[in-house]
């Protein structure tokens, strides 16, 4: 596994690469439960709570693009994207099911129209090794 630039990765939605994507960011979060008490000797103490994950993607808008339509319909029809993958160049990455939390659709006057997509994980995110 070598170092790599961000554009070398990919975001796949239900088996199809979202090739209109530009910036993408995966977040895996562990909730912290504060259990600090008088016996903590001056230091905050935490235990793990519930984990969560999400993915934000900025994609250039293109009329008629099938993958953007899949994402848009998932939000409008309140369905899940069963297989969302966030993959690095050599195939390593993460996968899981997700719901579409929001689609922003800015049309900046002097720039390209885009979709700003926020996905929220539904269940666990799993590591992907190679092309598994």
């Amino acid at each position: 596994m070598s170092k790599q630039a961000g554009f070398e990765g990919a975001v796949d939605i239900n088996g199809v690469e979202l090739d209109l994507a530009r910036d993408a960011q995966l977040s895996i979060n562990g909730e912290m439960i504060d259990v600090t008490a008088r016996d903590s000797k001056g230091w905050e103490e935490n235990i793990y709570g519930i984990n969560s994950w999400g993915l934000t993607v900025t994609a250039v808008f293109k009329e008629g693009d099938a993958t953007l339509a899949v994402i848009r319909n998932a939000l409008l029809l309140k369905t899940e994207l069963n297989d969302v993958r966030y993959i690095y160049k050599d195939g390593e990455g993460f996968k899981g099911g997700a719901k579409v939390e929001s689609i922003g659709a800015p049309q900046p006057f002097r720039d390209a129209a885009t979709y700003e997509i926020a996905l929220v994980g539904n269940g666990a995110v799993a590591a992907v090794t190679g092309q598994s």
Partner: protein
């Protein structure tokens, strides 16, 4: 990359070409309106070109692609060289601006979108001939 598309757009606009002189480009191209599209910012029109004439030059480019498509943001200058005796050049500069700003340009190998042109700015070249200069910006993606 798209200088010919800009040139073709202007050549097809009768309002722009009505008052432009002809120039013999030679070869297959033959005689056309005096609109020159250059590869380099340093190129100048041939000495026998009459004023007024329009010069299209690439200025800069930057990355603007997606993970699946090759693309870029391109910057061009469109300059109207003006004959000192002409009084209507300001209007011709306005017509060039109106022709290109928010226009659709076509190219065999690229989709071109987001064509914006800043309004013409009056100035002078190194030989003190007056000119009107406009900056064109657009996004391209490989077909």
């Amino acid at each position: 990359m798209i200088r010919k598309a800009i040139r073709d757009k202007l050549l097809a606009d009768a309002a722009v070409t009505a008052d432009l002189p002809d120039y013999d480009f030679g070869g297959v191209e033959g005689t056309k309106k005096a609109i020159f599209a250059f590869d380099s910012v340093d190129e100048v029109p041939p000495q026998d070109a009459k004023h007024e004439c329009i010069i299209i030059r690439p200025v800069d480019s930057e990355e603007f692609d997606t993970r699946g498509d090759h693309g870029g943001r391109l910057f061009y200058s469109v300059t109207l060289h003006v004959d000192r005796t002409r009084r209507n050049s300001r209007n011709l500069a306005r017509l060039i601006w109106l022709s290109l700003d928010k226009s659709s340009l076509t190219h065999a190998n690229f989709n071109i979108y987001g064509v914006l042109v800043d309004p013409p700015v009056a100035g002078g070249d190194r030989t003190a001939f007056p000119e009107y200069r406009m900056e064109l910006t657009c996004l391209v993606e490989a077909k």
